[in-house]
Symmetry: C2
Amino acid sequence: MLTDIAKSFQAAKRRYDRGQYALAHCFEVSFECLEALQTNANLRTFGNFTLAGYSLPYSVADSGERLSRPFHPELFIADPEVFKAASEEVADQLGNCNDVDPNLLDQVIYTAISAFSLSYDLWKPRSRKTPSTFFEVVIGSASHIIFPHYALTKHIPIKDVGAAEPVDALAKTEVGDAGDDATEFSGDSVSTDLVITNPQTEKGAVVPLKITTRERIVQPFAHQRILDSAYPGQYASFVSCISEVQRDDATTAVKQICVPGTVALFQKHLAHIKGLYYCDIPRRYARYDFTRIIPVKPFHALFTDIADHLKAD
Amino acid sequence: MLTDIAKSFQAAKRRYDRGQYALAHCFEVSFECLEALQTNANLRTFGNFTLAGYSLPYSVADSGERLSRPFHPELFIADPEVFKAASEEVADQLGNCNDVDPNLLDQVIYTAISAFSLSYDLWKPRSRKTPSTFFEVVIGSASHIIFPHYALTKHIPIKDVGAAEPVDALAKTEVGDAGDDATEFSGDSVSTDLVITNPQTEKGAVVPLKITTRERIVQPFAHQRILDSAYPGQYASFVSCISEVQRDDATTAVKQICVPGTVALFQKHLAHIKGLYYCDIPRRYARYDFTRIIPVKPFHALFTDIADHLKAD
């Protein structure tokens, strides 16, 4: 089922890795996923997320054999042709430096990443890391257009750490899904999903891109603390996420897996993060008592906030 | 195979959880594991760890159906009766506040934990967390004897973090092995394996107990940084580990999974840890260029170093 989609994704990723324009190619991959879902799966209501009287319905893709992760139908453009038009509009507006309709941007990003994730859930469930890679390529490709004069990388070198063997054994070892983030620390650098640097101001924006943060939320804060120590005042982190949700099949309810206490603890005592960015902000992260500790914003604010941080003083 | 052993372990753990003497009961569990291994498995040579001319042979337990993790035969007391005598001597010496033969202590601790881990590898491989729990109960039980007037806990409350819901959804959710450490951060506290506090000096020793650290090594450093921020000068971390090794079945070689560059980076830029403590110090962590950045010591130094930190000034 996914052979052609996987090929299209690899082609888009190769373009991105070479520094070529790739955003429209990514959206084309998502369009193919939406077509596959339309033809071979049933997008249906699954159940609600509920919290203190608040209730939000979620859907799943159902292949008959498997259920996908839950998705938020209001943000999801299920019709492939409607998505095609919307994504082309977004790509055009970004390419021409025009203001993009913020809600449209959020919907297109959410749909692009979700369509890919749902397809992999149904037809390649063992490739758990691939949707994260796609998320990285989509946002990296968009950044490439929005910040044509800034450098896009994945690593920030940290010098003079002192160990003779900065290349760690673990970084070279396949440790499976549990080792997802093993390579995020390699001894002589901080490695993340996307770093955008303004060569004039030497300021950098660190953009961790996470499909569900779960317990790995410690890492962006640890990174920021290390960067504060090694390069005071130079780097800021913009943690960009999608989908902190989980199916509960026993009750056909949806859980939003949130750790507001932990994030608040990290923000106060580990390092200061510029903000959390979501298309689908989890309910508990939207509360005032949380957002006064750490800003939580819709995804469309990400690029503006990064631009503000990187600009010359 | 493991039914009786699991029962003995649960009985020892219940004693420990109630604050009763449990060290001899833990060693009895290890004795039962050694008997099971002697009767139902073959402890045989597996292959060597090699690095730049240095070579160290490792063994495995082989049940015919499964292979265990590798273990270091020089540190492992395979004969149940010899272990029984040695562990009784260690328990007696600790109980009478006598000096313990440091090499005997290292061998008894290494054997106690390894015998349990090997048995679970062969006969209950899906209970991946249980050997870590056993490690915690053994070292906690020993600490109970060595520090009879100090408080043993697992949590350090962090006040005034500001989020209204300090109890996080994730902490209450079963997330499987990938979520191993999810509960180590709960929003209103730092939670670790063992905290030893001197009520007179209010100083505390944080003792993370890890069977293989892997990518989770970031957590002890993040904890220490949070404690430095919340309680300056009060807490110190003593990271206690066993077995950073992995079988490579294709080459019948053993890998020591080490991240010296990452640890050096954390020690310099994230937080300062008192030391790493191992029965089986990995080769790359024993090198001078590494130990001048972070002390790496045999396990028997752990209790002395903790006592030094906790004593009145």
